[in-house]
């Protein structure tokens, strides 16, 4: 160091020679050097405090706590802590994004020509297969997937049902290509790039807007020529048109599921894989989502898993039932119920049910009689023919007055229980109950 280094240096040397004094006194001559430091540290603190005041919400701690951290924790550490762990990146600090979680608008009732969901319906009966799996096996040490041969007709809505741990997600992941089978193969009759996947909990970078997320998906998979019109149409289709400019971090889980579907639709997929697509939706949202899925019949092949059998029954024309990693049944939903349901009728009588119940219980073709309501008997028979022939005879024999006799509602839940023998279908029937 020499005295030729400038006036600041010279002044500092003189002060050094003056003996001990307050440290700030020694720093005063170095103000030109210190000012940038102060500007940086104070600027960062002010930036963080302004952001904190404007933010509608912050993460991990209350606003007051973050204010204390920013001001009192050694600069710039407090401010940096706030930037990484406190700042809300969901667009909650004003602007069009807003910070409150609102409900999505209803999906577009009648898609325009640019709408990714086309409502052209074609017969499925003789359709070629969009997907087949052969001897698909993935063993996780006794659990997993074993020897699954799946055949999914092109243009069909294929419902995949099973108890928790049955292997649904593993099967869908292998089909999607995100997991590998130990044995067996997947044959796709569609271009792999035209396969779209919606996980049950879609996740996106929270600092992107909904429109940007869909646009990103478009840029990655959409055919040439698809642009912003398709992005807007996809958002409109799933009922998120009003949330297009909102940050994803501020969307509810149900809205994220819709956004996941929009990302899938914008690529105009031929095969759409939906893992529990209605799990986070309220009843109205579920109805909307199922309507969207049903509208794809004939134009896209949809495989969707669900633990809500009422949803599967409502939209799926094909169903596959998994249990312990094995495919127990595959075929049409109608055939499943016809084959595996016990024939039963609900018999409403005018003058008491006891004599008729006793008479029915004595019939060899009756397997079960129970009181469904005070004046209604539920009768189960060994066959449809035996019941249809025998019930009128028994009623006549008792001299009872019959109000009505109708087949008991045939639902997928009953067929599933009959097929799998699942004594505790916990989680499978919640959607079917009122």
């Amino acid at each position: 160091m020499t005295e030729g280094n400038g006036p600041v240096q010279f002044a500092a040397v003189r002060l050094d020679a003056a003996g001990p004094s307050h440290p700030l006194t020694h720093l005063l001559p170095a103000l030109p050097a210190v000012i940038p430091i102060l500007v940086l540290l104070l600027g960062l603190d002010v930036f963080c405090l302004v952001n904190l005041v404007r933010a509608r919400s912050v993460r991990n701690a209350p606003k007051l706590a973050w204010a204390i951290v920013i001001v009192f924790v050694s600069a710039p550490l407090g401010a940096i802590l706030y930037l990484f762990f406190g700042m809300d990146r969901s667009g909650g600090s004003g602007g069009s994004g807003g910070g409150t979680k609102t409900q999505p608008s209803r999906p577009a009732a009648s898609p325009t020509h640019a709408d990714p969901v086309r409502r052209v319906v074609r017969p499925v009966g003789a359709a070629p297969l969009a997907l087949t799996t052969t001897d698909l096996t993935r063993d996780y040490g006794g659990t997993g997937l074993f020897h699954v041969d799946l055949s999914v007709p092109r243009g069909s809505i294929y419902g995949l049902v099973g108890l928790n741990g049955a292997g649904k997600t593993t099967l869908l992941s292998i089909i999607a290509g995100t997991r590998h089978p130990d044995r067996g193969s997947v044959s796709l009759a569609v271009d792999r790039r035209r396969v779209a996947v919606c996980p049950d909990v879609p996740e996106f970078d929270g600092w992107l807007t909904a429109a940007e997320v869909v646009d990103l998906a478009r840029s990655l998979v959409a055919p040439a020529g698809h642009g912003q019109a398709e992005v807007a149409a996809a958002l409109r289709t799933v009922g998120l048109a009003d949330a297009a400019s909102r940050r994803v971090g501020g969307l509810s889980r149900g809205m994220l599921q819709r956004l996941g579907l929009a990302c899938a639709l914008v690529g105009d997929p031929r095969l759409l894989i939906l893992d529990e697509p209605t799990s986070a939706l309220d009843p109205a949202g579920r109805a909307d989502m199922l309507g969207l899925v049903a509208a794809m019949r004939g134009t896209r092949t949809v495989i969707f898993s669900s633990h809500i059998l009422a949803d599967v029954q409502r939209v799926a024309d094909q169903v596959g039932i998994l249990r312990d990693g094995r495919l127990l049944y595959e075929g049409s939903t109608r055939d499943l119920m016809d084959t595996y349901l016990t024939p039963s009728w609900l018999l409403r009588l005018a003058d008491g049910v006891d004599p008729v119940a006793a008479a029915l219980a004595g019939q060899p073709w009756v397997t079960k009689v129970e009181l469904a309501e005070p004046d209604v008997l539920k009768v189960e028979a060994t066959s449809i023919a035996a019941g249809e022939r025998g019930i009128p005879v028994v009623i006549a024999g008792c001299g009872a007055r019959q109000v009505s006799c109708e087949p008991a509602a045939a639902d997928l839940e009953s067929a599933f229980l009959a097929l799998t023998g699942a004594g505790d279908p916990a989680g499978l029937t919640e959607g079917a109950r009122p």
């Binding site: 050094d16 050097a33 990103l216």
Partner: protein, 249 residues
């Protein structure tokens, strides 16, 4: 919206770019001041005891910046890079990207490039700040030495980001990826103890900026380390891509 624009937005809409700039800038502004007034500050901190240190040189001030930047700045860079390169850390996000790209390179390239550029830029910013403070308080620095040092530091930081990519292919968790990266980078100086390879280890680049401005060496002295860092970085990236391509989500 391309994957390249996504990384740009990730830098500017999250605190990543701001944190990188602030940390390197703060180190660059503070270290020369601390170096210049070290004896004064220490004397006051020691309750009257007079502590006399050798008068600092401009090279001392830059060395102080480099040593802090190589620790604090490197940690910040590794953490922000690990959080971006760990695209398999959340299954939902991984499913979104992995089912839509043909090759994992599509994901890896922009994320690596973003931090291999942002890190060195922040380092350059910090160096310029340190240069300004050093010139004001202590003395002038040789221009050629400063920029040769920036080149060495930039290559080392890009190498560190490549190692982070490799770590992210070994671990899904961001903290684990950052930990693996820092362990590798901190282990490298141990190799430099072997005299035969000391000039070839990338960690030799860490101290290069200070040594270059002090005139201890010229840039050609560091060419082996620069070459090894570039090749090792490329190998780390290729290995990361290979591991990520086959990794399940």
């Amino acid at each position: 919206m391309s994957l390249w624009r996504l990384e740009w937005l990730r830098l500017v809409r999250t605190p990543r770019a701001l944190a990188l700039a602030v940390v390197f800038l703060a180190i660059g502004l503070i270290e020369p001041v601390a170096t210049r007034y070290a004896s004064t500050l220490l004397s006051h901190a020691s309750h009257g005891a007079v502590i006399r240190l050798p008068k600092p040189t401009p090279a001392d001030a830059l060395a102080s910046y480099v040593s802090e930047a190589a620790i604090v700045g490197l940690i910040v860079l590794v953490v922000v890079a690990a959080s971006a390169l760990g695209f398999d850390s959340s299954p939902g996000l991984a499913a979104f990207f992995r089912t839509r790209v043909r090759s994992v390179w599509q994901l890896l390239a922009p994320r690596f490039a973003a931090y291999a550029v942002a890190g060195p830029l922040a380092y350059l910013l910090g160096t310029l700040a340190a240069w300004y403070e050093t010139h004001l308080l202590i003395g002038a620095l040789p221009v050629a030495g400063v920029f040769a040092g920036v080149l060495c530091g930039a290559v080392y930081l890009a190498f560190a980001v490549a190692v982070t990519a490799l770590a992210a292919s070994l671990a899904r968790n961001t903290v684990a990826s950052a930990g693996i990266t820092l362990a590798i980078l901190l282990a490298l100086p141990l190799l430099a103890d072997v005299r035969a390879i000391s000039g070839w280890v990338p960690s030799a680049l860490v101290g290069a900026p200070a040594e270059l401005v002090a005139g201890a060496y010229q840039l050609p002295h560091y060419l082996p380390a620069l070459g090894v860092a570039a090749v090792a970085g490329a190998v780390a990236l290729a290995l990361a891509a290979r591991l990520l391509q086959t990794r399940e989500i």
